[in-house]
């Protein structure tokens, strides 16, 4: 059925783009984290 592509596509778009965003946040924080010692991070 034609609708199936749309339905699966919308789930793919949703969780796919969130995953990409998560990856970019994690990458950026890892890069920044290299220069900030653990004890300076207020949440640890």
């Amino acid at each position: 059925m034609d609708d199936l592509g749309f339905i699966l596509g919308s789930y793919l778009v949703t969780f796919g783009s969130i995953s990409l965003y998560v990856a970019s946040v994690v990458r950026r924080s890892r890069r920044a984290g290299r220069e900030v010692p653990r004890e300076q991070r207020p949440w640890t």
């Binding site: 059925m1 609708d3 919308s10 290299r34 220069e35 640890t44």
Partner: protein, 247 residues
Amino acid sequence: MTTTSERNVTGTSFTRGLGIVTLLGIVLLVILGLFVSPADVNQGESVRIMYAHVPGAWLAYLAFIVTGVSSAAYLWKRTRSLTWDRFAGASAEVGVLFMGISLVTGSLWGRITWGTYWTWDARLTTTAFLFVTYVGYLAVRGLGGSHHQRARRSAVLALLAVLEIPLVHFSVRLWNTLHQEASVAGRGTDVTMDGLMLFSLFLGVVVFTLMYVWLVLHRQRALALQDMVEDTGLDAALAARRAEAAV
């Protein structure tokens, strides 16, 4: 101490637990939404998109409210702190992401149900304007300057957006009621929810809320790290400049 390959930088045991619960929720939502829950009488299979679309849109609105409140908290002298600014920025970013997703999934749903990707319905149009407004907000955040400069500028902008939203929504609605052609938005939306469908939607809201919290916490911490890196960079540059003066 700090190794170059540190994996978990912005996480705590709380966010890790939250992340695991969220992932389980996502799996459950996909199973329920795509396979277990029944097709709708009116909408047919397309109702399945709703379980991801509706929560995304709601959480985006919530994210923008959080941005507005955090911005006000920053501007208010007694609670002035860059943490508020970073929460505002993180929340707006996640809001833009969720809203962008909702616009796409919404138009896919519309294509199935109405046969058209887009309709000039008041809610849709306001959402589109909101999306562009916060893209502009994020652009202003990236303008540079000192941390407090960035914070003040973007906080004022966020409050202006809060003023703008009702005006845009009201004018679009007024415009829309005079254009009867657009009433297509009313068709196909009357859903008679049975228990499992309602539960799926409810689960969707829960899952998206958990995702929102997880994302904002991590993004906020990443922003804090970036600010700290800039600060330590300043320390190093200061030391270098002082050494230069001593020669």
